[in-house]
């Protein structure tokens, strides 16, 4: 019972905060509304018995939204606290499409005869998950790792203005690198 109330409370928070992302005027508020939505969902995942994933969701999303706020401020091109922002297009189509999708999904959720629960959760979920990804599903993690590294490299390459040749000279021998802001290690 209590779990039910908490769940619905969190559900309201999650959806309302999610909607607030596209309603509020301020970029900071929009970003942190999304963070709030993620926190609510993270707690819901906790309620669904998956402590590790729930907490990791909150951790990652708060971090991501803190960074997201910076990008919002940089790129939104609108004053955060001063101006209402309405930078939308095709609003009506979007509302129609999303309402349709919601009806479809919700109807599916309610009408499909979901099968009975098979099996029971292991006692120590986190350990089980760890064994799983390091055992049978190791391939998944072995792929995810390099993908993450590739993301870091690709992201830097895409976003950076100067290349290593700009920094280190044509033969990559310039030391220390020619940076507008020197780092702390003094390479």
């Amino acid at each position: 019972m209590l779990v039910g109330i908490v769940f619905w409370g969190l559900a309201v928070v999650a959806v309302a905060a999610g909607a607030a992302v596209f309603v509020v005027d301020s970029m900071a508020r929009a970003t942190y509304a999304l963070a709030l939505s993620f926190i609510a969902v993270g707690v819901q995942i906790l309620l669904l018995g998956q402590s590790y994933l729930g907490i990791i969701t909150i951790l990652m999303m708060v971090m991501e939204m803190a960074v997201m706020a910076v990008y919002m401020v940089m790129f939104m091109g609108m004053n955060p606290a001063l101006m209402p922002m309405d930078m939308t297009h095709g609003k009506k189509t979007a509302i129609g499409a999303s309402a349709g999708v919601f009806v479809l999904l919700a109807a599916g959720a309610l009408l499909v005869p979901w099968p009975e629960r098979r099996g029971a959760p292991p006692e120590d979920l986190t350990r089980a998950l760890g064994l799983e990804i390091m055992g049978e599903k190791m391939l998944v993690m072995a792929v995810v790792g390099p993908v993450m590294v590739a993301t870091i490299v690709a992201g830097v390459v895409l976003a950076a203005h100067r290349t290593r040749y700009d920094r280190l000279g044509d033969d990559l021998r310039r030391r220390p690198a020619d940076d507008p802001q020197p780092g702390g290690v003094g390479r």
Binding site: M74, G77, N79, L82, M83, P84, P182, G186
Partner: protein, 437 residues
């Protein structure tokens, strides 16, 4: 009354004082700082944190206006102490402490004040980056001139009568054109607006609807323009004046910076109240005292509090002529500064000046090297001066404040502060100007 009285007495023991030095009145300021610490009080960095506003010396018109504004920003309970000479510091602080305890007085004071923060009507905000000192935000003020979107540097503060309420720019097409479409707002009086500073080309349109109609923008906030930063990204330019009331900043110096992110892309220096309006000061300070003061500022900005405290003690000892204590303190300072490799790594490379750089800016030889080199050489000179054993090296002059903008352009804000503190700036330009005039 008993509880609030006890609270007040307890609170007064931890009073924070915002010290404003009128150029030339270094002696009063140092005396105030000295006495603060003896009472267990501490200096405040911003008006928001201050209980007492201590004005050292008689400010000129420009600084007076500024001091009034600082006074407005203090949260209260607040007390203002005008201290004209070092001799009256003790009694002025005593009086301030007594007045701080007077709770009914502060209650009335609070009721009489405006409840909402606002930008003064007479402030000339349009002049950011230009002349008007009036609208200046010397950093601690609550005017928050930040703007993170792409907007023209326009200013609404002078237009109290303008009615923006009915405007709705919300539907504007921001994609294609940069500027705003004013034609749709026939009723609006743009007469007073400074469109000259607006950069309509480079960014995604501006929006006036925040004014009047929205609670977020009670008005008067100057918006930033865009410009290309050193990484080739378009970034907003923010105009932020540094000084004259800023912790560990040369008295009277105002550096109007254009910031992109926290990188100073352009700067302009001036001296508050021009030259000579500061009233008669006690004359130029002894060199060693000034150097100690500068070393203290640099160390405090670098964040080594123990070493900064050491420099302050050396300064106070030198000032009151206690030679033994001074020599001890200077020796300790010298040891601390020399030993700390963390300090070296922190100051290394800050405003590196080679011979060519010195010549280009017309700087004296002792400015050579980076901030750490200058720190060491200055401590060395203090030692020579305080010890009195070695002959004082020939003094080849300080750094004129006018070169500061050239030196700091392109640096990031923290480095700017360290760079300025590391230079032997003519400490009291007003006084010197009078002297030469």
């Amino acid at each position: 009354m008993g509880l609030s009285g006890a609270l007040a007495r307890l609170a007064v023991r931890a009073t924070r004082v915002l010290v404003v030095e009128v150029p030339g009145h270094w002696a009063t300021r140092m005396e105030v700082e000295h006495q603060l610490l003896r009472r267990g009080w501490r200096p405040a960095w911003t008006p928001a944190d201050a209980d007492v506003l201590a004005v050292c010396g008689v400010p000129g018109p420009e600084l007076s206006e500024l001091v009034d504004r600082l006074w407005e920003q203090m949260p209260g309970p607040r007390v203002r102490a005008d201290i004209t000479s070092p001799g009256t510091v003790g009694s002025a602080l005593d009086a301030a402490a007594a007045l701080l305890l007077d709770t009914p007085h502060h209650r009335t004071d609070a009721q009489e004040r405006a409840q909402e923060p606002e930008i003064p009507e007479d402030a000339d905000h349009g002049g950011h980056g230009g002349m008007g000192h009036g609208g200046m935000d010397h950093g601690e003020m609550d005017h928050g001139e930040m703007d993170h979107g792409g907007h023209g540097g326009m200013d609404h503060s002078g237009h109290g009568g303008m009615d923006h309420g009915g405007m709705d720019h919300g539907e504007m097409d921001h994609g294609g054109h940069g500027g705003m479409d004013h034609s749709g707002h026939g009723g609006m009086d743009h007469g007073g607006m400074d469109h000259g500073e607006m950069d309509h080309g480079g960014h995604g349109g501006m929006d006036h609807s925040g004014h009047g109609g929205m609670d977020m923008a009670p008005g008067g906030i100057a918006l930033a323009g865009g410009g290309e930063d050193r990484d080739g990204l378009e970034m907003d330019v923010l105009h932020l004046p540094l000084g004259p009331v800023l912790p560990f900043w040369p008295a009277g110096l105002v550096l109007r910076c254009s910031l992109q992110g926290d990188v100073v892309v352009d700067a302009e220096a001036s001296v508050v109240d021009g030259a000579g309006a500061g009233g008669p000061g006690p004359g130029p300070a002894p060199a060693a005292v000034v150097w100690c003061d500068q070393v203290m500022a640099l160390l405090a900005l670098a964040g080594v509090e123990d070493a900064a405290a050491c420099a302050r003690r050396a300064r106070d000892a030198l000032l009151c002529g206690d030679e033994d204590a001074a020599r001890d303190a200077v020796e300790r300072l010298d040891r601390t500064v020399r030993r700390s490799w963390l300090l070296r790594s922190s100051l290394r490379g800050v405003l590196l000046l080679d011979r060519a750089g010195l010549e280009r800016h017309g700087l004296p030889g002792h400015c050579r090297g980076d901030a750490h080199d200058r720190l060491l050489s200055r401590v060395e000179r203090i030692r020579a001066e305080a010890g009195g054993t070695e002959p004082t090296p020939a003094e080849d002059g300080g750094v004129p404040w006018a070169v500061v903008p050239d030196l700091v352009t392109g640096l990031e804000l923290a480095s700017v502060r360290l760079a300025v503190a590391s230079l032997d700036l003519d400490p009291h330009p007003a006084v010197q100007a009078v002297g030469h005039g």
